[in-house]
């Protein structure tokens, strides 16, 4: 009777099917130009539909964005590489601790580290990230100390949040890291509000909003894009497209949109799409976008194209919904490997130093982990006092909370 049939987006491959990334177009590095800082949305089409890449297959930076970036000091790159390795050490140790029941929950960011790592280094003191749960690397790259970081993960007395929040829901105002919410999307528009405050108060700072590909579907992605388009505050709207939202393929969030960057264009927000596993591309585009925002040319959206190599969280097993070897086959490679290759190519790094750095960092993390675990784990909990429950619900504790605290025995 009817010609209308619904469609249901599918990933290219399911478990026990051969990995298939033939749908992913990987343009050559260096093709796209560097647009002027005042890039208008109408002129952003090639950037929103293309893919900005800086390192070629051998790790050599090529093209206009490489020029724009200039030769990054080797120390800065080594710092980036080390931060990524440190993040992997934390992920490894904490995933392990979770498996041992020492913490209730953990989330890795394997494969996506270059994005936050390179982005953070382009920010200034006082700029504010509104991160998702998968952006711990922003803290690492901002040199947030390991003690409070791991303390939060163990919810023990080293936790600056006194156990109130689920592990990885950090908050570190002084490190430009806004309190993470578990509700997807909500913070995207808050970032725009923060950026409006920056402009209204003229403090010269900017905000950086973060969202996953899956969460672009949330209503506040829309409310944020719209608000940014209307008021033109200094905000960088980051979209981390890692192809998956728990078990759900990115196509379900994308529908027939060509790219997430292109969706931003519909709002009149200029947007670029970037190889998120290319540390140099991330550095270059971050610098450009942050400068654009700070100089008063308004908001910009960036789709960072990457792949969530690990499970969604410690509660998830991706082998139930995608081929086991998908991560290895990801056409944009691994961000650590690629930066390492580039540094080696520049004569600024070696396989040996890499192995050694990895070992040192794992050691460092393990050491701190031990100290932090001595302050309590889920097996041997030493949370902050139960009265923490009542503190900070309001600035001043109202009568009824005082009564409830008494009822609790304090």
């Amino acid at each position: 009777m009817s010609d209308a049939k619904l469609t249901f987006p599918h990933p290219p491959a399911r478990p026990n099917q051969p990995v298939d990334f033939s749908n992913i177009v990987v343009p050559k590095a260096g093709l796209l130009p560097v647009p002027p800082l005042d890039l208008a949305p109408q002129d952003a089409q090639p950037f929103a539909r293309g893919l900005i890449r800086v390192m070629d297959d051998t790790g050599t930076p090529v093209g206009p964005w490489a020029e724009y970036l200039g030769e990054m000091p080797a120390d800065d790159l080594r710092k980036g590489l080390r931060d990524m390795l440190k993040m992997r050490a934390i992920d490894r140790r904490m995933q392990n601790a979770q498996r041992q029941g020492k913490t209730s929950f953990y989330m890795q960011s394997t494969g996506e580290e270059a994005i936050g790592c390179a982005f953070q280094r382009q920010l200034q003191q006082g700029d504010m990230n509104f991160p998702t749960y998968r952006q711990q690397i922003l803290l690492v790259a901002a040199d947030y100390p390991l003690e409070p970081m791991l303390g939060q993960l163990y919810s023990n007395d080293l936790d600056p949040l006194e156990g109130r929040q689920l592990p990885i829901m950090h908050s570190a105002r002084d490190y430009g890291y806004f309190s993470v919410s578990g509700n997807l999307g909500t913070q995207y528009v808050q970032a725009v509000g923060w950026a409006m405050a920056c402009a209204l108060r003229g403090d010269g700072k900017i905000a950086a909003a973060w969202i996953g590909d899956g969460a672009t579907a949330s209503n506040d992605f829309h409310s944020a894009m719209l608000s940014a388009s209307v008021y033109q505050p200094p905000v960088v709207l980051n979209i981390v497209n890692n192809q998956w939202a728990i078990s759900t393929y990115t196509g379900v969030a994308a529908g027939k949109s060509e790219t997430y960057a292109a969706r931003a264009l519909g709002y009149g927000v200029p947007a670029l799409r970037v190889d998120g596993n290319d540390f140099l591309a991330v550095s270059a585009v971050s610098r450009w976008a942050i400068e654009r925002a700070r100089k008063g040319f308004g908001p910009v959206a960036i789709e960072w194209f990457t792949y969530r190599a690990a499970a969604h969280s410690s509660s998830d097993d991706p082998s139930a919904y995608r081929p086991k070897d998908e991560a290895q086959a990801w056409p944009l490679g691994d961000p650590v490997d690629r930066l390492k290759a580039h540094l080696i190519d520049r004569g600024e790094w070696s396989e040996e130093r890499h192995v050694q750095a990895g070992a040192e960092l794992l050691d460092e993390v393990t050491q701190v982990q031990k100290q932090v675990e001595a302050h309590g784990t889920l097996v041997n909990p030493q949370p902050a006092s139960p009265t923490a429950i009542f503190n900070g619900v309001y600035a001043d504790m109202p009568e009824h909370l005082r009564r409830q605290r008494q009822e609790m025995g304090y």
């Binding site: 949040l161 908050s171 919410s181 509700n183 509000g193 923060w194 905000a207 409310s223 608000s227 009824h400």
Partner: protein, 337 residues
């Protein structure tokens, strides 16, 4: 002293705060150039400029979400939701974000924000211009919930709310924007200029959050009310000829339980009024607290007179609105026992 309507008093509160604190900022749908569909912000954009008072797209979660970001940064946004009936798209931002930001960040980030919204019925607005959602906010730890019943209180409470370090839901009973309403929709309307509570100082003052006001002292029965229902209560008490004490709660969260308990311990009888649907309305909370605190003083069950558990109707508005006669009947019933 100046005579003001509640609308003028609210405007005056924003005016005072806009002028004495550069961090205060006012926005919402139609609030900028035009000054709001109820004119609460009329003239403020002309006076303070577009950066302080502006129009927004029709997106309530953006209005509140932006305000949260600004408040966390250190500003003091005072935003308007055009009708309380349209706050639901912002419910996620209010309850999951604003209410919990201080707590979850262990005080690193806070949210000194006011969300104003016209509330309640009595204006033939039908189901999307008449709702009273207070109980949906009183259930949420971290929020304060305020509802004035006079121009004087409206200004003093709004200034206190803007100065408060935490998020405040500020409900404005629109039926009494222009004058007290004694429940007789066919009768002559009384303007605020004819009521003593219409006297409002031009300058800064506050009415502290968390304190109820005793609108009428009485010995025989306690009526708990807020917003428009305070006046319905006054008229009902006159008609019933009962020496009732009328308490205007003014702040629902945190609640001034001490004032309530002192009254009910004295009277031994209590009737609770609100316009919202009955089931799980704020009246339930009041009764739960009062029966526990005053159990041994109670001489009759506590009764509620409320909106019915149905959507707010357009044509049958006065059958839905808790009328003077329903209140009188409840008073009589409680006095019987």
């Amino acid at each position: 002293m100046a005579r003001m309507t509640m609308i003028e008093a609210l405007r005056s509160a924003m005016d005072v705060k806009l002028s004495d604190d550069p961090g205060v900022i006012v926005f919402g749908e139609d609030v900028g150039y035009f000054g709001g569909v109820f004119r609460c912000t009329a003239g403020l954009q002309a006076k303070y400029g577009e950066e302080r008072v502006f129009d927004t797209p029709i997106n309530e979660s953006a209005i509140v979400g932006l305000a949260i970001g600004m408040a966390a940064h250190g500003m003091r946004p005072c935003v308007e939701i055009q009708f309380a009936d349209y706050v639901y798209p912002a419910y996620d931002q209010i309850t999951q974000e604003a209410a919990r930001l201080r707590h979850r960040s262990n005080q690193q980030f806070t949210c000194p924000m006011v969300v104003r919204m016209p509330t309640g019925g009595g204006i033939f607005g039908g189901q999307t211009h008449s709702q009273s959602p207070e109980a949906l906010f009183t259930h949420v730890a971290g929020l304060k919930v305020v509802i004035p019943s006079t121009p004087y209180d409206a200004k003093g409470l709004l200034i206190a709310a803007i100065e408060d370090p935490d998020p405040v839901i500020f409900l404005e009973p629109k039926r009494i924007y222009n004058g007290p309403f004694y429940g007789d929709h066919a009768g002559k309307s009384v303007p605020w200029s004819a009521h003593p509570a219409g006297e409002v100082p031009e300058d800064h003052y506050i009415v502290p959050l968390g304190r109820a006001a005793i609108r009428r002292e009485g010995a025989d029965l306690t009526i708990l009310a807020y917003g428009t229902m305070v006046y319905v209560a006054e008229r009902a008490v006159e008609q019933a000829g009962i020496d009732a004490e009328i308490i205007d709660l003014r702040t629902l969260l945190p609640l001034d339980l001490a004032t309530i308990v002192a009254s009910v311990e004295k009277t031994g009888r209590c009737v609770v009024l609100h316009e919202a649907t009955r089931t799980s309305g704020f009246g339930a909370e009041l009764i739960a607290e009062v029966q526990q605190a005053c159990f041994w003083h109670l001489r009759a069950p506590l009764l509620r007179v409320t909106g019915w558990d149905a959507p707010y109707p357009h044509a049958q508005e006065w059958d839905y609105f808790p009328s003077v006669s329903r209140v009188v009947a409840a008073l009589a019933k409680v006095m019987e026992d």
